[in-house]
């Protein structure tokens, strides 16, 4: 009787609720250990410092190069976070548990994506003042465009990244595989993010075509990830 009730209760659980449970679990784990966020922050900080030593740019030069720099730093720290997020589940056998549970795999995927997205956005918010200070930055174009680019760009990285991280933990050399798979697929998005950021910072061109392109990229790849995630999770 009790089991039947529990089963009914599980069935009635909506995807949004399951997703939220996943996000909350990930964020709670991260809050308790702070492994990922700390290493991401420290890594981005190192990138900022090393690049400013390597190039020592003037304010005008830094406007042109900081778009590429920011996204390189975020891209590589995102890869760090993504590797961790699935490795944890593998260690504790959560993936096998998920395979036998009736909960839809999409909820797990969406939860992971959202969790990583929140982490990376947090990192970006914390790092943005540092970039401004170290590179003596001031934007010529409107700031709200930068926010839109950050949201779309981060989502583009995170959604593909979460998918390919799930794929790469199935391989022998786990952490090494993720950049090999993710970077070629992400090149068009990275080009669009960098170009759009540079366009806003220098104010030379309108970034709108790049922003539209990024939005299209997000829609296409989010759809593809959702359609194929179940297959990848259950691949045997």
């Amino acid at each position: 009787m009790k089991a039947a009730q529990a089963k009914a209760g599980r069935r009635s659980m909506s995807i949004s609720r399951l997703t939220w449970i996943n996000v909350a679990k990930d964020l709670r784990l991260e809050w308790r250990s702070r492994d990922v966020l700390n290493s991401m922050l420290f890594f981005s900080l190192l990138v900022v410092v090393i690049f400013s030593f390597a190039f020592s740019p003037t304010a005008e030069e830094s406007r042109r190069m900081v778009g590429g720099l920011v996204w390189t730093a975020f891209l590589f720290s995102t890869i760090m976070a993504l590797n961790q997020s699935w490795a944890r589940e593998l260690r504790n056998g959560v993936l096998d548990a998920y395979r036998v549970s009736p909960a839809p795999a999409e909820a797990l995927f969406f939860g992971k994506c959202l969790g990583n997205f929140i982490l990376v956005m947090l990192l970006e918010c914390l790092m943005a003042p540092l970039f401004v200070v170290f590179y003596n930055l001031s934007s010529v174009g409107p700031l709200w465009q930068l926010a839109v680019i950050a949201v779309l760009g981060t989502w583009a990285l995170v959604v593909n990244g979460t998918f390919f991280a799930a794929m790469s933990i199935r391989t022998r050399n786990r952490e090494l595989m993720l950049p090999l798979l993710l970077l070629p697929i992400s090149i068009p998005a990275v080009v669009a993010m960098v170009t759009a950021t540079t366009d806003v910072l220098t104010g030379d061109f309108s970034p709108m075509s790049q922003i539209k392109f990024l939005a299209g990229y997000c829609v296409i790849f989010t759809t593809a990830c959702f359609l194929l995630f179940q297959t990848v999770l259950n691949a045997e």
Partner: protein
């Protein structure tokens, strides 16, 4: 029966390759400004055509695999990607050799070149994934990646559409191409597409054997051949000292040597693999 068809087709292909090479090197008129160096065009373009056909086969076979989980589809997918990467390596090596003469530099970050490089990277990463994933999940993971790779290509082209390209535009059927050159190009295209088909067939049979003895062992196709052909690029650093005609001729020879090194290297690689698989099969049956 099957092997007889294979043999006949192989003879036709070899004949056509010889005829095409003769046409390209002897019959085709020399180009007005680039002379002999332009003859690289006669296998650069056919290799690109063959490679794109093979990549489409990889996509179609991957979808088929995801739908039906048939090992035949899996063998076709790996064939398409691996042979495609080999042909595309030919494109990426013969192109820069020509460009060194025509533009004075091996590489520019032109839209067409960039997209080609990304395409090549995507399929190399596909082969790397196949090579290193756990036995059993390889085919499914690889098929999913193939779908992403095929989705990425139109997007890459879109993202590059606002760049001006210095790569020559497609010329078949336009008045820009000398009709005699076009004829030679079409002969070569036929020859190289057949050649690709033959190699693909060979590779497919290999994959089926390897599936049958349950010993998937896919290796990166481009790795070895790239390493062999790369030193050739640095061979022509001080061409200013030589006479122009000789220089053009050297570029042509370098292009041909590089390309055939890749093709023959890949074939030798397949032969060795076949010998190894046969031995393994014999051992398994004897034991």
């Amino acid at each position: 029966m099957r092997s007889r068809i294979f043999f006949v087709l192989l003879m036709i292909t070899l004949g056509l390759l010889g005829w095409g090479t003769y046409q390209a090197l002897v019959v085709a008129p020399p180009e007005a400004t680039m002379g002999d160096a332009q003859r690289i065009f006669y296998y650069h373009v056919p290799a690109a055509t063959a490679a794109s056909i093979l990549f489409w086969c990889n996509f179609a076979a991957s979808l088929w695999y995801l739908w039906k989980r048939s090992p035949v589809a899996d063998a076709m997918a790996v064939t398409g990607a691996e042979v495609g990467v080999v042909f595309f390596s030919v494109v990426l090596i013969s192109g820069p050799i020509w460009a060194r003469y025509a533009w004075g530099t091996f590489w520019v970050w032109d839209a067409r070149l960039t997209t080609s490089l990304i395409l090549w990277l995507l399929y190399v990463s596909y082969l790397v994934l196949r090579n290193s994933s756990e036995v059993g999940s390889t085919s499914v993971l690889a098929a999913s990646l193939a779908v992403f790779a095929a989705l990425d290509m139109p997007i890459v082209y879109m993202s590059n559409r606002w760049f001006r390209t210095s790569h020559p535009q497609p010329m078949i059927g336009t008045p820009n191409l000398n009709p005699e050159m076009q004829k030679v190009l079409l002969w070569n295209m036929l020859a190289f597409c057949l050649f690709a088909l033959m190699i693909a067939w060979f590779r497919y049979e290999l994959e089926r054997i390897s599936q049958k003895i349950n010993h998937l062992h896919i290796q990166k196709a481009a790795h070895g051949s790239m390493a062999m052909a790369l030193p050739l690029m640095f061979f022509f650093a001080d061409d200013k000292l030589l006479r122009e005609k000789m220089v053009q001729h050297h570029y042509m020879v370098a292009g041909y040597v590089a390309v055939w090194t890749i093709y023959i290297g890949y074939l030798l690689f397949l032969m060795r693999k076949l010998a190894r698989l046969k031995k393994e099969e014999a051992e398994l049956r004897a034991g």
